[in-house]
C-alpha cells in the first residue's frame, strides 16, 4: 500500500485505455469503476491507520518529492475517491443512454481529473503540486468542452484562458519562492517563509492567492465559473463542484496555514469569502438555467467555507470541514439527479425541468436542497451550526448575522425550485430512474441523513483534519524527512 498508487494507477489506466476500448465498452466502463473502487478501498484502508503516512519518490523528502497523507488530506481523499466511485457508476448509465460519445477519452480525463486533484492534496512539493494543478486543469478544460458543441467549446476556451492566467501566477510565485528559499519543498518553505523580505513575501502570497483563488472561484475572479458549469455535462458539474473546487480550496488553506499567513491575511480572506457568498446567492435568484443556478450556489457555499476556514479557530474550521463534506455529497446528489432530468428533457431551463413527475427524484432533490440550506436533520445543518457555533465562540456576531441573512436569500431560490417540483398544476412528464442511478442517489441521500442524525461518524475525521490543518507539526516533520 503506497500513496503513490493514487496517481500511478489512474495514469496506468489512462495509458492503457486504448486497449480497454478495444475490448468493448463494458470492459472500459467496468475497469473505470474498478479503478475508482480500488482507490476508494485503499482510502478506506487508510482510515484508522496512524497518520501521517508518507510515500517517497526517488529520495528522502527534503530533497525528493513525497506524498504525505495527514488528517486534513484524508478527509478530502475520502470525499474525492467516493465522488469518483459514484460518478463512475453514474457514467455507466450515461454512456448507455448516450452511445456514440468518445467514451474512452472521457474516462481518461475523468480518472486523471480525480488523480490530479488527489495529487494536489497529497504532494508536499509546491512545484509538483503545480504539475498536478495543470493535470487537473487540462482535464477540466477538456471535460467542460466534452460536448463539442458551441457552448461546450466556449466553456472549454474560457476555462483554459483562466487556467493559463492562474498557472502563470503560480509559476511566478514558485520561482520567487525558489529564488528566495532555494527549495520547493513545502516543509522547508514553511520553515523559512517568515525569513524572506516582507514585500516579496506579500508578492508571493498575492500571486498564490490570485492563482489558486481564481481557480477556487473567489469573488472578483469567478465571473467565468457559471459559464463553465453551464457548458459542461451535469456529472462533470458534480465533479467540478464536489471535487475540483474543493481541491483548490484544500491547497489554498493548506498553504495558508503552512506558511502561517493566518494572522496577517485572515480578515482579507474572510471579507472576500463573505462577498463571494453575498454576490453569488443574490445572483442565483435571477437564474433561469438550472446548471447556472447551482453553479452560483456552489460559489456561495465556497464563500461560506472561505469565511469559516480562514478563522484559525478549531471550532469553526472543524464545522467548515463538516459543511464542506456535506456540501460535496449534496451537490453531487443534486447534479446527478439533475443530469437524469436534463437527459430526459434535453434542456436545462428551470421552467421545463419543473415538469417532471417522479416521487423518488423529488424526495432526493428535496433532501439535497434542505441539506445545503442547513436544515435538520440533514448533514448540512450540523455543518452550519458548527460554523455558527465557532463564530459565536469568537464572538464574531457580524459573521453570524451575515451568514443567516444571506441564507434566507439562498432559501428563496431553493424553495422556489422545491415548490415547482411539488406544484400539481404543471403538465407532468413521468421520469423513470434506472436501477443504477436509483442505488447511487439513494446511497447519497442516506449518507446525507446519516451524517445529519449521527454526525459523530464524520466529526471524528473533521476534528482530525482540523487538528492537522491548524497544527501541521507532524506534517512538517514528515515533509522535512525528520525521523524517516
Amino acid at each position: 500500500m503506497s500513496l503513490g498508487y493514487y496517481f500511478l494507477l489512474p495514469v496506468l489506466f489512462s495509458f492503457l485505455t486504448p486497449y480497454f476500448k478495444k475490448l468493448g465498452s463494458f470492459t472500459l466502463r467496468g475497469s473505470s469503476i474498478l479503478l475508482s473502487l480500488v482507490l476508494f478501498l485503499q482510502t478506506v484502508a487508510y482510515v484508522g491507520v496512524k497518520l501521517p503516512q508518507i510515500s517517497q519518490f526517488s529520495i528522502k523528502p527534503p530533497l525528493g518529492i513525497a506524498f504525505i497523507l495527514d488528517g486534513y488530506s484524508l478527509l478530502f481523499l475520502l470525499i474525492f475517491t467516493f465522488s469518483a466511485l459514484v460518478v463512475s457508476f453514474y457514467m455507466y448509465w450515461f454512456f448507455e443512454e448516450n452511445s456514440g460519445r468518445d467514451e474512452a477519452r472521457f474516462y481518461v480525463f475523468f480518472n486523471m481529473l480525480i488523480a490530479g486533484s488527489i495529487g494536489m492534496i497529497l504532494s508536499c512539493d509546491i512545484f509538483n503540486l503545480y504539475i498536478f494543478f495543470e493535470i487537473t486543469g487540462i482535464c477540466s478544460y477538456t471535460l467542460s468542452a466534452f460536448n463539442k458543441d458551441k457552448l461546450g467549446l466556449e466553456s472549454g476556451i474560457k476555462y483554459l484562458i483562466i487556467g493559463s492566467i492562474a498557472s502563470i501566477f503560480i509559476v511566478f510565485a514558485i520561482m520567487l519562492i525558489y529564488l528566495q528559499i532555494g527549495t520547493v519543498n513545502l516543509g522547508l518553505i514553511a520553515q523559512r517563509f517568515h525569513l524572506i523580505d516582507p514585500k516579496i513575501s506579500v508578492l508571493i502570497v498575492l500571486m498564490l492567492f490570485i492563482g489558486f483563488g481564481a481557480k477556487a472561484e473567489l469573488f472578483p475572479m469567478n465571473f467565468w465559473a457559471p459559464d463553465i458549469y453551464q457548458g459542461s455535462i451535469s456529472s462533470v458539474n458534480g465533479l467540478f463542484s464536489s471535487v475540483v473546487a474543493k481541491a483548490y480550496l484544500f491547497v489554498f488553506f493548506h498553504l495558508f496555514y503552512l506558511f502561517n499567513l493566518g494572522s496577517k491575511y485572515m480578515l482579507f480572506v474572510m471579507v472576500i469569502g463573505a462577498i463571494t457568498f453575498l454576490v453569488s446567492e443574490f445572483t442565483a435568484l435571477n437564474q433561469t438555467n438550472v446548471k447556472r443556478l447551482f453553479a452560483y450556489s456552489t460559489l456561495g457555499q465556497l464563500g461560506i467555507l472561505f469565511m469559516a476556514l480562514s478563522t484559525n479557530s478549531s471550532q469553526t474550521v472543524s464545522g467548515a470541514l463538516f459543511h464542506l463534506t456535506s456540501h460535496s455529497i449534496s451537490k453531487l446528489l443534486i447534479f446527478l439527479a439533475l443530469g437524469i432530468l436534463i437527459h430526459k428533457f434535453k434542456s436545462a431551463k428551470i421552467d421545463i425541468l419543473g415538469n417532471f413527475k417522479s416521487g423518488f427524484l423529488t424526495i432526493v432533490l428535496a433532501i439535497g436542497f434542505l441539506s445545503i440550506l442547513g436544515i435538520p436533520p440533514f448533514s448540512g445543518f450540523v455543518g452550519k451550526i458548527l460554523i455558527l457555533k465557532g463564530f459565536a465562540l469568537s464572538q464574531n456576531y457580524t459573521a453570524i448575522a451575515f451568514i443567516l441573512l444571506v441564507s434566507i436569500v439562498e432559501a428563496i431560490y431553493f424553495f422556489r425550485l422545491t415548490a415547482m417540483m411539488l406544484d400539481k398544476k404543471r403538465a407532468k412528464v413521468t421520469v423513470k430512474v434506472g436501477s443504477v442511478n436509483y442505488i447511487i442517489l439513494t446511497l447519497l441521500a442516506v449518507l446525507i441523513i446519516l451524517f445529519g442524525v449521527y454526525p459523530s461518524l464524520l466529526t471524528h475525521y473533521t476534528d482530525l483534519a482540523t487538528n492537522a490543518l491548524l497544527h501541521p507539526t507532524n506534517y512538517l516533520n514528515y515533509a522535512l524527512g525528520v525521523g524517516l
Binding site: G64, R105, T142, R192
Partner: protein, 242 residues
Amino acid sequence: MNLKKVLPLKHIVLSLLSSALLLSVVGLLMQVKTDMFKNVGTIYLNLNMQTAAANAVTSVVTFFRGIDTVGEVTVLFLATSGVALMLSATQRTCDKVVKQESFILNAGSRLLLSVIILFGVYIIIHGHLSPGGGFQGGVVIATAFLLLFLANPNMKLSHGILTLGESLSGATYVLVVIIGLFKMNILLGNFLPHPIGEIGELISGGIIPVVYILVGIKVGSEMSVIVEYFVKEDYYKEVCDA
C-alpha cells in the same frame, strides 16, 4: 459608436498600468537575494556522482524530481487526447478526396526522415550525457513526421503502432516507478545497477536512460499524433472548402 472612442482609452490605461506594475515589480525584484539559503540544486549536484548521469539536469528531471516527469508525460498525453477528442470527428466527415502529391517533395522528405529520426534517437539516448533527452528527442522525431505530412498530406500514420508504442512505453514507465517500490522500498528508486562504468559512458546512470528512452518513445508518438491531427485538420478543411 462610443466604443471606438473608449477603446484607445482602455489601451492607454492598460499600458500605463502595465508600465507602473513593471516599474514597481522590477523595483521589488531587485531586492531578491538569491543566496539566502543553500539551494537544493547544489545538494543535487553533490549527489549526482551517485546517480552517475553526466548531465545533472537529466538526473534531476528523471530521478530527483522524477514524479514531476511522470506528471509531465501525463500532461502531454492528456493534451494529445484532448486534441484528438476535439479534432477527430471532422476527419470522419470527409476523407475520400486525394490531394496531388509532389514526387520530389515526397522522396526528399522520406530521405530526410531517417536522418531526423536518427538525430532524435541520438538526443534521446544521450539524454543523460549531453543536453537533450526524451522530450527534446521525441519532439525532433515528431518534426520528422511533420515534414512528411507537409510533403504528402495523404500519408497515413499507422495508429496501431503509435498507440502501441505510446501505451507500452507509458505503462512501462509507470511500472518502472512501481518496481522501485518493491526493489528499493521507495517509489521510482534507482534499482538498476549504477554506476557501472565511468560517468559519461552510455551505459551508466541506472534507470535514468531507461526512463528517458521510454519518455522519448512516448513523446515522439504523442507529438506525431498531435502534428498529424493539426496537419490533417488543415488539409481536410481546404478540401472540404473546395
